[in-house]
Every structure is written in structure tokens, then in C-alpha cells.
């Protein structure tokens, strides 16, 4: 049996790379991260930052072309090297995932109830009746109104918000240690997003949450810790309040000042100039240097290491205006 005594999920020096005509290029470039029980960690970054690929490889469901190196430790199992059977056992049971588009992740020809109870029974030897009772309990817990009736529905009969609740129920049903949620509210309407954010913040039971998002405000809304990724690296991490009030990395500051706010003066937004490096682009030094207003010769000469929760030669202090 799998020993999960340590109760923490540890990522050590994770590298995910893809074959390109010029050899393997890394989209995740050596990441170290520990997620403790009950943590709600947000992984924030733009498209191409490697955040999704990191999430997928944590469950061992990265695209087949991807090469994963390093360690993803769930208890004493290393997800990277684990046999398929072991990884399958862990998925759903110890670590599960919520995707952006629930309709494409649910089986359209099976009822909600049959999909959820199948998941229960795959990991537990219990009767159909017991499984259904558990399904009902978890559907109630994720706030689905009239759960008894909804159990008999098919995914397309539910609204987008309810489908996402079903996805979350599916992720939670085996009481995993960690739920990875990849942009779970991006496809939803504003008022529905608010409902799901509420659920993610306070309805996850004992499971830790890793929320992958491009929106710092969504991250701040749900999580207690923020990890900022840029072009495959973690560039800064810290408690939400700390990151919002005193962001040190120029990229984090850039992200914060790029969001429009309810500011009566309506100052022009401060976009981050340029675009992130492409996957095959070789960048000497800090990968953010070309877009950074603080960059100097040191930044293009060598890559800053991730020390004291930040990877920058010139950390800035003070709040972002």
C-alpha cells in the first residue's frame, strides 16, 4: 500500500520538456515546490509559463511527447517514475484535477451519478448503494441544488456552473490530498465564477488546492499562497497578503499593475512590454530581462537563482501604485 505518512506533496527539480526540431526544449525548468495539507496555492502565470504542464505532470497525464524529469513525491511514491498502475491508483485517490472546460472532461453519454460512483468504486471496495450515498453527499457538499434529481442528469443537461461543480465533486469524491484546478472559472460567467471561487475557497474539505490561473485577482480571491511562474521558472512566491502588498519581483509587479482597478483617476494601465520567450528560444541570463525595466548587464549575463522566495538580482520593495 502507498505510504502517505508525510502528508505533503513535494516537487523537486521538476523539468518538463518537449521535442523540437532543435532537440528537447524545457517548458518547466527545474521547479521546487512543497504543498502542505490544507494549503491553497495559486500558480499564477501567462500562457506559456509552464503552469499547466506542471499541473498535468503532477498527475502523470502530460502529453505523450513530453519528457518529465525530477521528482514529484506523493508520500513515498515518485509520480515521475511510478509504474502506470501505481500512478493510476494515486490519481483520483490522492491527487485529482479540475479542468477549465467541464463539458469536454465529462462523459456525455453517462449520468452524473454513474460517473461519480464509478470513480468511488474504482478506488474503494464498497457496494453500489454505499457509493451512491457517497455521491449524494459530495454533490450536496459542492452545493448542487436538488442533488438527488441531478444525479440522474447527463452532463449536457446541466448549466456551465453546475457542470463545474460536478467536476469538483468528481475531484473530491475520493477525499484526495490535493486537487489541481486548471483555470476552473475561465469559461464561466461573472456571477457563476463568484460561486465557484467561493466553493474553491471554503468547500474543499481537507484537500489542499493548487489553483492554476492567469488572473492574480482570482488567485488572491481563493488562495493563501501565491506562486508566480514565468517562462518555466518560479520567480516569486509568498503569502497572498505579502505578494499583493509588497511584490518584489518586477514581473509580479508588472502583472499587478497591468490589471485595471476601480481607480477613480483611471490612470493608463502599465502593460508589460513585449512577449514571453517562445519554447525554443535560447535566453541567456534571466528570462524576464528583455521585458524588465530594472534589468542590467548582470541580468543578461547570468540567471538569478531562486533564493528566499524570489529569483531576481534586483528585487523591488514597496506596494505597486
Amino acid at each position: 500500500m502507498i505510504n502517505t505518512a508525510t502528508n505533503a506533496i513535494e516537487i523537486k527539480n521538476l523539468v518538463v520538456s518537449f521535442p523540437t526540431p532543435a532537440g528537447y526544449s524545457a517548458v518547466v525548468r527545474g521547479i521546487n515546490l512543497t504543498i502542505n495539507p490544507g494549503d491553497r496555492v495559486a500558480i499564477v502565470g501567462e500562457s506559456g509559463s509552464g503552469k499547466t504542464m506542471m499541473g498535468l505532470s503532477m498527475l502523470g497525464i502530460q502529453p505523450t511527447a513530453a519528457k518529465v524529469e525530477g521528482e514529484i513525491l506523493i508520500g513515498d511514491v515518485n509520480m515521475v517514475t511510478a509504474a502506470d498502475a501505481v500512478a493510476r491508483k494515486l490519481r483520483g485517490n490522492y491527487i485529482s484535477m479540475v479542468f477549465q472546460e467541464p463539458l469536454t472532461s465529462l462523459n456525455p453519454v453517462r449520468t452524473i451519478s454513474s460517473q461519480l460512483s464509478e470513480s468511488v468504486r474504482r478506488h474503494n471496495s464498497i457496494s453500489k448503494k454505499e457509493a451512491e450515498a457517497r455521491v449524494l453527499a459530495v454533490l450536496t457538499a459542492v452545493g448542487i441544488p436538488a442533488p438527488k434529481e441531478r444525479m440522474k442528469s447527463y452532463p449536457h443537461q446541466l448549466s456551465g456552473g453546475l457542470r463545474q461543480r460536478v467536476m469538483i465533486a468528481l475531484a473530491l469524491i475520493n477525499k484526495p490530498q490535493l486537487v489541481v484546478a486548471d483555470e476552473p472559472t475561465t469559461a464561466l460567467d461573472a456571477t457563476i465564477q463568484a460561486q465557484i471561487l467561493d466553493l474553491l475557497r471554503s468547500g474543499m474539505g481537507d484537500a489542499a488546492l493548487m489553483l492554476i490561473t492567469h488572473d492574480l485577482a482570482v488567485a488572491a480571491d481563493v488562495c493563501n499562497r501565491i506562486v508566480v511562474m514565468y517562462a518555466g521558472n518560479i520567480v516569486e512566491q509568498g503569502p497572498v497578503a505579502e505578494i499583493l502588498s509588497n511584490p518584489k519581483h518586477p514581473y509580479t509587479r508588472g502583472l499587478l499593475s497591468a490589471i485595471p482597478k476601480f481607480d477613480q483617476a483611471r490612470p493608463a494601465l502599465n502593460p508589460i512590454p513585449g512577449a514571453p520567450p517562445t519554447i525554443s528560444e535560447v535566453v541567456p541570463g534571466c528570462r524576464f530581462a528583455s521585458r524588465c525595466s530594472y534589468a542590467d548587464a548582470q541580468c543578461t549575463a547570468s540567471e538569478p537563482e531562486f533564493i528566499n522566495n524570489i529569483a531576481c538580482f534586483h528585487p523591488v520593495t514597496g506596494a505597486v501604485k
Binding site: 504542464m53 498535468l56 505523450t64 511527447a65 479542468f99
Partner: protein, 294 residues
Amino acid sequence: MSQDSKDLVTPITRRKMFKSKNKSLATLRISASILAALFIIAIFQPFFYTVDPAASDLTLRLQSPSLDGALLGTDALGQDVYSRVIAGFRWSLGIGTVGTLLGCLIGITLGVSAAWNRKRLRIVLSRVIDIGISFPYLIIAVTIVTVVGRGFWPLALTLGLVCWPTIARIVYAETLTLREREYVTAARLFGIGSIRSIFTHILPALRPTIQVVAAFTFAELLIAESGLSFLGLGAPLGTPTWGNMLNESRLYMESAPWMMFGPVTAIIVTIFTANLLGEGLNAREHSRSTRVSQ
């Protein structure tokens, strides 16, 4: 992000992609070259004759193939089978080409007009296409040819007139999805008229599909043409076409079996190549569209 999760569902490694792409490209190149060669034979056929295909020498009838005499033997009238097979290229490829072009013209016009129109015209035209598809086209062709008479143009035009429904249906379906593309809506809101929009956005996007359909239609018309000629409904008797030659060889199946080898090989090779071309074009289009979606 959604792209990443899409990869999950259909994992395609790059190497696999390259491999299948190269293979389909090779199919395409080979079949296109063979077909081009066949067309060259059809156009410059006098250069490929060993003797005049029409010349008959009754003293040399039913001779078996030999390297220094008639390459593929001679028929009952003492005509050279090889030269007659070569002569048949012009007839068959010509009818295939004219028929396919006419069929495409009718099919594209009807298909695009039916899909583009939002009102009554669409209902009428799509019914017309449905009816066209449900008719057995070979029987219609037989009827028309019987009434109009034999010959190159009657046959070519008849085949063109009966082969459009499939083309129209495919074009119709594809245009329906293309019409909903945002850039087509955008064009309308810029004040661009329907005709212009069809020519700048719809037809260029349809081109790959039309190429594939045309290649398959071409192969189909070759079969139809040979069939009709074989039944004596195609070329006037005595014209050197593959179908006619097959028909003539029937009587001598036991005494002079070589009479049918030539035309049969020509029919098989041409149809096979045209089908291969269709497959190749289809595979190329498919690999393109998957590349775009990634």
C-alpha cells in the same frame, strides 16, 4: 490551457506527425507524377504509337504479343492493340476531365448557393441536391446517351451532368461551417458583398476539399465511361477506347486473351492513380488542419 488538455485526449508525438506527413506527401507526389505522365501520353499520343491505331491489316489479325511485332498483339481486325490503348488515353482522360470540370462547376455553384442563402432558395437548392443524390446516376446517363447519341461530347457532358450531386453535398456541408467563421461575418460588416466574400473567403477555403473530391470523381467517371463503352453506349463502334476494346475482346477471350490485357491494365492503372491522388490530397489536407489546430 484548453490546448494542453486537448493534447491529452489525442496524444500525437511529433515524430509520428512527421512520419505520416512524409508518407502522405510521397503518395501525393508519386500519384501526381504518374497522372501527369498519363496526361502527357494522352496529349502527345502520336509520338507513342508504333503504328497507326486505325490501320487494319486483316492478314495480321489476332496475333499474339511479341517484342519485334505488335507489342500487345493485334485484334480481330489486325489493329495494333498497344497503339489503340495509347489512343484510348485521350478519349478516357478527356471525358474524365471534361466531366469532372462540369460536375465541379455545377456542384460548387449549387452547394455554395444553397449554403450561403439563409432563406427559401436554400431549402429549394438543398432539396435539389438531395434528389440528385438519391438518383442512380448511371441509369440516367444510360438514358441520356441513348436519346442523345454516342460520341465524345455527348458522353463527357452527360457524365458531368450526372456526377455533381456528391460534390454539391460536400461543398454544401463545408460552406455551412465556413459561413459561420467570424472573418466571414466581419467581411459582411465591412460592407463586402456576398459574391466578393465567396470569392475571397469561401472558395479559397474550399479548394483543398474540392481537389480531393475532384480526384475521386475523376476516377469514378473513368469507371463509368469504360462501363458505358463496354455496354456499347459510349464511343461509336470502332473508336479506339478502352471500353470498346474490352467489349471487342470478349468474343476472343479464349483464342486471343491478350486483347484485353492492354485496356484492362490501362483502366486499372489510371483509376488506381486517380484514387491514390485523392487519398494523398486528403491526407495532406488532414495533416494541415491538425497542424493549424495545434
